[in-house]
Symmetry: C2
Subunit: 273 residues, 2 copies
């Protein structure tokens, strides 16, 4: 029989490299694989998969359990992962404004991006208070349960948000948003307000406020957040922090070449435009 029609074949896709990457992908789903399992999962012959594994292993990206001979991701991927984060140019641009915000508020502040349903911290500055949230570059938080994440989800196509909710919204506290309907409602509010709040949804006693950073096309590409113990985040303090976080976000956006929300000197613009 002839090929079952894959009409739009990409002539620049290298087959053996493609299969290699498919193999690597498998390891995000299951931590160890035997040759036979992988061959079956990918629908490839064992010699083919053997050569692929052999090549990747030769580069130190995979390692085998000396006992069982099963393959697993090696630490070399962790090196690449760190490099990926440190390469974000955003990281360096955002640092001075973040430091200012941390100094003004005394609280931990951070900048993150959305990736695959998680908010990933790419830069953080800790607050000066003894009891404070800890943040570090590379920290990941489920998007539905963080201020950073909700700000970024709010500007995503509805279909993607639904797909995320479909995968299940893990509960962390009694306040975590766990239904698709509640998430949609919360994101609607975020869009209306221009900022997001995590009200002890990830951890009891921790509140965060987040605001969007827009890139040169005006699209939200990242977010800033300030995090503090709930005891220091009463309504009065929140009202005070919101403009501080928002203006930090706008400052970073401007550095990225974002078209300002309101032309400078045009007075107070309608913020519902």
């Amino acid at each position: 029989m002839r090929e079952t029609a894959d009409p739009p074949r990409d002539p620049y896709l290298l087959g053996s490299l493609r299969k290699g990457l498919e193999v690597i992908d498998c390891f995000t789903r299951q931590k160890t694989w035997s040759l036979g399992e992988l061959a079956a999962a990918l629908g490839q012959s064992k010699p083919t998969v053997f050569r692929i594994l052999h090549t990747i292993e030769a580069f130190g990206y995979l390692q085998r359990d000396p006992e069982t001979g099963r393959y697993a991701l090696a630490m070399r991927f962790h090196t690449l992962g760190s490099a990926a984060i440190h390469h974000e140019q955003l990281r360096w641009q955002a640092l001075p404004p973040l430091q200012d915000l941390a100094r003004e508020t005394g609280e931990t502040v951070h900048v993150g991006i959305l990736y695959d349903g998680e908010a990933i911290c790419v830069q953080a500055v800790e607050g000066t208070r003894l009891v404070r949230m800890h943040a570090y570059v590379g920290k990941r938080t489920p998007a539905h349960a963080s201020a950073l994440g909700k700000v970024l989800l709010a500007h995503l196509p509805h279909a993607e948000v639904d797909a995320l909710a479909e995968r299940g919204l893990t509960r962390f506290t009694s306040r975590t948003i766990t239904s698709a309907a509640a998430l949609r409602e919360a994101l609607h509010q975020v869009r209306a307000q221009g900022y997001a709040m995590d009200d002890e949804e990830m951890e009891l006693g921790l509140r965060c406020l987040g605001a969007p950073i827009t890139d040169h096309t005006g699209r939200p590409c990242a977010a800033v957040a300030v995090s503090a113990p709930a005891m220091r985040m009463d309504p009065a303090r929140i009202a005070e922090l919101i403009p501080q976080v928002s203006s930090t976000a706008q400052r970073i956006s401007r550095m990225l070449g974002s078209p300002s929300m309101q032309s400078p000197g045009s007075g107070r613009g309608a913020n519902a435009a």
Copy 2:
């Protein structure tokens, strides 16, 4: 002219996958590349490199700067990197003993492995004191300036330690070991003592004690460390902590199937054997 003799050609090395991995490797040295730069650096033709980049990009492992068209590592690598750490089986085995040690001492404790000149934390339990070291999975520390790192370096072939020193030993405090000779001497002492100490070598005011974990072959494969502010790490406290850290390390080693240093019931063995 004929090929310049690469005698031990590996028949199971897939050429195009190999080149793809070489391309990925390039991004650990320089954060962004243009097609032409990569082609020149690898000694490959531009169409070849183009196909490779195209394939990797199609998988979301590379992304292009929309402005300049330059390639950079994408966040997807960070996902793989996290997965690599979380797949360490050591991580789960070590947790209960670590929790016990953290409870007994009240200080932050962690387990790490050596990779490419850095100690990488694969499991951590924070202490209970208000002022304490913060540790998290994935944290990396230069090996020459940490207790974890020095324990693991001590059991490496001398050539590898020298190679590391060759690359330069960054100074963090006035106490950081920065010469190859001093490092060799320090590692010699670690081997003799059976534990390592970081005496404010990474950060002033922070002391750590580390002890080796051995795998089923008896080879040191990881290490445990306890970290505390120097004010809580005076000589008396250190003398108290050393056996606690060591016995935690031995407990974990035994779980990994390590042959005990001294057969159970054989009384106090000579620890210099």
